[in-house]
């Protein structure tokens, strides 16, 4: 009984709980026993070197990809065990911002943002229009409502995708690289929007991003993932000054450290043929 109560308490505090996550994609080990918690109502950033599996982690959280082992609990539900129907039920409460926006190219900006509402909520057309225009206003693109995705710049497409991700006021929003391609003005507005959503509606946010300055402004906690494991965690400022080889290299942007800059390759001089030519 105590264990049940303890579990309930844990799940009410942590919206997302990942335990012992193991994933292999082909011959590559992506996660090798990853554990992390994301508190309800928090803004959490996930950082790490390229190719370390940050996007894969987001896909695990939403059940788009099943891990080889481990547990992923979101809002008290074990994502790895959910049926398709239950998974879709969970996804209705999650907003997901894709790295490449993933707008539906057959639909206008307005219809893209309206798409989730049209599928899951039977709203009068006027109310639907008002909700969509409110979300587009929040990302500064109300005037672009009738444009087609092909007519948008990369940054604009990302903002439309953001409007679509928040149209349902979900409990959890997963942002995959939300700041890429945004000019400083749009970046500031998007940061403000993420903070506002968090403060006013209590929406939990998980950001996968590399922009440390932006993350410092919004995130309460940062997880640094490398080599399939969690290597550091803490508040952004705390982490930037932490004395570990991982944080030193990552936040200092150094080529040398535990994360190799170079993809494994034979000796440079040998490959260029200098070794043979040397006297």
């Amino acid at each position: 009984m105590n264990a049940v109560l303890a579990n309930q308490k844990a799940s009410s505090d942590a919206l997302v709980q990942v335990r012992g996550l193991r994933t292999r994609l082909g011959a590559k080990t992506i996660f090798d026993g990853l554990d992390l918690d994301v508190a309800r109502g928090s803004i959490t950033a996930i950082m790490g070197p390229s190719g370390t599996g940050k996007t894969t982690l987001l896909r695990h959280l939403t059940g788009q990809l099943r891990p080889d082992a481990g547990s992923v609990i979101v809002d008290g539900e074990e994502v790895t065990q959910l049926s398709r129907r239950a998974l879709f039920g969970l996804r209705e409460r999650i907003g997901f911002l894709f790295q490449n926006s993933a707008l539906l190219t057959d639909f206008s900006v307005f219809e893209n943002v309206a798409f989730p509402l049209r599928q899951h909520a039977r709203l009068p057309e006027e109310l639907l229009r008002d909700i969509v225009l409110t979300k587009l206003q929040a990302v500064g693109l109300r005037g672009a409502a009738q444009l087609m995705p092909a007519e948008l710049s990369g940054g604009m497409a990302r903002r439309v995708a953001l409007a679509r991700a928040i149209v349902f006021d979900p409990m959890l929003i997963l942002y995959d690289e939300p700041f890429v391609g945004l000019d400083p003005i749009a970046l500031n507005q998007v940061l403000r929007l993420i903070k506002t959503l968090n403060k006013t509606l209590g929406i939990t946010s998980i950001l996968v991003a590399h922009e440390l300055a932006a993350i410092r402004q919004v995130a309460g906690r940062v997880y640094l993932i490398a080599n399939g494991k969690l290597v550091a965690q803490g508040a952004p400022d705390e982490l930037a000054h932490q004395d570990s080889p991982w944080t030193r290299q990552f936040f200092g942007g150094e080529a040398d450290g535990p994360v190799p800059f170079h993809y494994p390759a034979p000796d440079y001089a040998t490959e260029l043929g200098f070794a043979e030519r040397a006297p």
Binding site: T62, Q64, R84, F88, G89, R91, E92, I94, F96, F98, Q99, N100, A102, L103, L104, T105, F115, P116, Q119, H120, R164
Partner: protein, 255 residues
């Protein structure tokens, strides 16, 4: 090495036929849910059907005209040119209408469906739908499959009509056959059940086969330019082979 390679190709081939079979079951399973998206199905019927009308009508007309010329020559050897209308109609209803229409639709609409879904996959649109709790099988795959089954027999009817019109144009207007003989012999010999409906059953099956292959190839296309290009080619190649193979089997059972 070569033997290994051949065995791998064979195994891969068998595996992909199995995958396509499982995909077919999944598409059928998603059909009830896809009825919610009937607008999307209508849009696809318009795309596969109405947008293919020009090519189907043109080809139907010319095939009818060529049939009339060739058959007039052959029948004149036996002194049976009065049967021209009947023979043209039977060839079209029973065989050429369903088969040629299916080959044309595979080339025109099948490739477009594969490329469209392949690009949707490559640009994460299918994943995005899944993330918005909309099943891409029900929203994208099933309506396109259903559209093929609905549009193909309709297109085959148009093809047959144009073929008979072309045959009439050549046989009666040009070669001077009697109009009454042309129509009279045709209407008295051609049977609705045995000839016309059997042709339409074939057409429906071809519609299902072509759209299933097109959707499956798009769904499983590797998310690269080359991957989508290969899948599009495979749609035409596999559709053509399967249409002709099914045609033989169905003709054997239906006659």
């Amino acid at each position: 090495m070569n033997a290994n390679l051949r065995r791998n190709w064979l195994l891969q081939g068998i595996a992909s036929v199995g995958d396509c079979g499982l995909f077919f079951v999944a598409v059928l399973g998603a059909l009830p849910k896809s009825l919610r998206y009937w607008r999307e199905t209508c849009r696809q019927v318009w795309f596969v059907g109405a947008m293919s009308l020009v090519i189907v009508m043109t080809c139907g007309l010319f095939i009818g005209m060529v049939l009339a010329l060739q058959l007039y020559y052959t029948l004149s050897i036996f002194g049976g040119t009065s049967a021209l209308g009947t023979v043209i109609a039977l060839s079209l209803f029973r065989e050429l209408g369903p088969v040629v229409t299916a080959l044309l639709v595979a080339g025109r609409a099948g490739t477009a469906v594969t490329a469209e879904i392949g690009l949707m996959r490559a640009t994460d649109q299918l994943d995005a739908m899944g993330m918005m709790a909309v099943d891409p099988l029900a929203y994208v795959a099933s309506p396109r499959f259903l559209a093929g089954v609905i549009a193909m027999p309709l297109l085959a009817c148009v093809f047959n009509a144009m073929g008979i019109f072309g045959g009439h144009l050549v046989g009666v207007t040009w070669l001077g056959l009697d109009n009454g003989t042309f129509w009279g012999n045709m209407t008295s010999t051609v049977s609705l059940q045995r000839d016309i409906l059997d042709g339409l059953y074939k057409s429906m099956v071809f519609g299902g086969v072509v759209s299933l292959i097109a959707v499956f190839q798009g769904y499983t296309a590797p998310p690269t330019s080359e991957g989508v290009a290969y899948s599009t080619t495979r749609t035409v190649v596999f559709s053509s082979i399967v249409i002709l193979a099914f045609d033989f089997v169905m003709t054997a059972f239906l006659t």
